[in-house]
Amino acid sequence: MNYVFYIAAAVAVFSTLMAITRANAVHALLYMITSLLSSSLIFFVLGAPYIAALQAIVYAGAIMVLFVFIIMMLNQGPASTEQERVWISGKTWVGPTMLCAVLLAELIWIVRGDPAWLPGKTIIHPKDVSKALYGPYILVIELASMLLTAGLVGAYHLGRREPERREGES
């Protein structure tokens, strides 16, 4: 049943390739979401449901930030009208949607039976992950909180508004 994994991997590779070759940032983002979802599915197939869920949860947030960030950062010109027209036409949705459909089909294929036949030799239950994280790897958890706070402060510094001065704002 390894082919489930290979299809998901192929989708991941293809959508990543598409993501980095798209000229339109929003299209690239759509492919990137597909790529992330397919890697989530790969985790699931390999017997790590918790990581699969984490991938979907965290990247849903990360992608949103990225989305806002990219739209904010992009230089908007007269081309944007043309871009938008193509965007709304719905044609660009076909690619990601089809890839997502493949993933969905795979997911249904997997869950319809007993997951014991999955390529992963053992299923890593969320409980196992938790025992490792809150046992021997507790340092990593605390470090993660430190990293997040440092990132928060750093991002706030770089993104802060300065009311007294408007010009030259990067």
Binding site: P136, Y137, I138, L139, V140, L143, A144, M146, L147, T149, A150, G151, V153, G154, A155, Y156, H157, L158, G168, E169, S170
Partner: protein, 484 residues
């Protein structure tokens, strides 16, 4: 199992970082001048506690956090580097500098970010599994990226931050990809267990993992051809940050290289001699040759730092019982010498706002003592006897010679001569060229003057007093024994 006290250095630095961050929230802009002394005090206490730590060997959390004599030295160097960086930043951030670059405020955030990166570096050398190693590497480098872009209004600073983020993220991706393959091969995240499991591994996957991890390590060490980020980041970052980057990120890179090359691939290291020798030769040559044509002193120091990375690599050749103490000793020497030079650069930029080498002309007339200190620092970097830089380089060169790489010693000697030439360019500007008549002579700053004086004394005596090297050597022997 040992007691908690081996984690005290980290706990103290983390506590200081949080005190700074929280104190900043409840302070007026005026009283925020107290933040730098708080940070400096915390680091001083950290150094003192580390220095008096007994025993220096032990592990916590089931061996996932370990202290050993080599880690002890690295932690001292990290805290020392950041202590000096905090003192250097004070004048600019507190507004005492004559030329205050725009956007250099926000002291609470600044010291918090700097201290978090120290925490990451300190944990980096204490990590004993891939996950902790990677997360601490990220804590060490992410703040440096923010610091490089600290002056958000400055296009150069922004460019520095962006380049550092993109290339740093790429390097991190390489490392984590390599780690994941290693984990798959060894079925363990523990560094020592991986080392045992991959000792006889020859599969293509393993080679890919090695290549990826080494490329990432090379990036952190600014090893050619992974050095591209250094020059722009060093030039664009605010000057005190450049000073911190040039020593702390290099020390962290060396710590990471220790973890990778000695702990993870220790059994294979002897076979990689030719490769490391090649990288060392390219790194020092390119750094030196490009440094000759630089006019901006920060960019100049960036290429100087790249060439110094080449000298460090010599220590990975040959017998580890000689290479490790030589590298740690040279790291100490490099950190102190580079900080001495950078303290002068920071002070000069604070006073005049200039950072071209030509701007230093006549400094020996207006500020003879500072010029002398800067000259001693530069000469130590060039490796002129009897300064500590000479002793450090001598140890490293002799290792390469003992390892049978005589051509490499020749290359390194030629490079030292080249480096002397370009370090002398700065000295020439300070001592031979006449001073600019119209320019207001820079006035000394108390904090930086004291720092420069202490650092210069250390630079001068580090090579003469043998106890430090003896201590490092003794520490290494026990460390190497523990690796087996």
């Amino acid at each position: 199992m040992t007691t908690m006290n081996i984690a005290y250095p980290e706990i103290i630095v983390i506590a200081t970082a949080f005190i700074v961050l929280v104190a900043d929230l409840f302070m007026t802009e005026r009283s925020r001048a107290a933040l730098a002394p708080i940070a400096a005090l915390g680091l001083l206490v950290g150094i003192a506690v580390t220095a008096t730590l007994t025993p220096v060997t032990g592990e916590l959390l089931g061996g996932r956090f370990a202290m050993d004599p080599v880690a002890w030295w690295f932690k001292i160097v990290f805290m020392l580097a950041s202590l000096v960086a905090v003192i250097m930043s004070m004048d600019t951030l507190d507004g005492r500098a004559r030329v205050r670059p725009r956007g250099m405020g926000f002291r609470g955030e600044y010291y918090w970010i700097m201290l978090s990166s120290v925490v990451g570096m300190m944990l980096l050398i204490s990590a004993r599994d891939l996950v902790t190693l990677f997360v601490s590497l990220e804590i060490a480098t992410l703040p440096l990226m923010v610091l490089a872009a600290w002056r958000r209004d400055d296009a150069k600073s922004g460019e520095a931050g962006l380049k550092y983020v993109i290339l740093g993220a790429l390097a991190s991706a390489f490392i984590v990809y390599g780690f994941s393959i290693l984990y798959g091969l060894a079925r363990s995240a523990d560094l020592n267990e991986i080392a045992r499991a991959v000792a006889t591994e020859k599969s293509p996957a393993f080679l890919l993992a090695v290549a990826l991890v080494l490329a990432g390590t090379g990036f952190k060490l600014t090893m050619v051809p992974f050095h591209m980020w250094a020059a722009d980041v060093y030039q664009g970052a605010p000057t005190p940050v450049t000073a911190y980057l040039s020593v702390a990120s290099k020390a962290a890179g060396l710590a990471f290289a220790f973890q990778i090359l000695f702990r993870l691939f220790g059994d294979m290291l002897p076979q990689w001699g030719a490769l490391i020798a090649l990288f060392a030769a390219i790194t020092m040559t390119l750094g030196n040759v490009v440094a000759i044509v630089q006019h901006n002193i920060k960019r100049f120091m960036a290429f100087s730092a790249i060439s110094q990375a080449g000298y460090f690599l010599l220590g990975f050749l040959g017998d580890a019982s000689e290479g490790v103490p030589a590298m740690i000793f040279y790291l100490l020497v490099y950190v102190v010498s580079n900080l001495a030079v950078f303290a002068c650069i920071v002070w000069f930029a604070n006073e005049t706002g200039k950072e071209q080498i030509e701007d230093y002309r006549g400094l020996s007339l207006t500020n003879p003592l500072t010029a002398l200190c800067m000259m001693i620092g530069l000469f130590s970097l060039a490796g002129i006897p009897p300064l500590s830089g000479f002793v450090g380089k001598f140890f490293l060169f002799s290792i390469a010679s003992k390892a049978g790489c005589h051509w490499l010693v020749a290359v390194a000697a030629v490079n030292s001569t080249i480096s002397l030439y370009y370090y002398l360019r700065v000295v020439r500007q300070m001592y031979i060229e006449p001073a600019d008549k119209e320019a207001q002579p820079p006035s000394p700053s108390t904090s930086i003057s004291i720092t420069v004086a202490i650092l210069t004394i250390v630079v001068s005596i580090l090579g003469i007093v043998p106890t430090i090297y003896q201590h490092i050597h003794a520490a290494t022997i026990t460390w190497l024994a523990s690796l087996q």
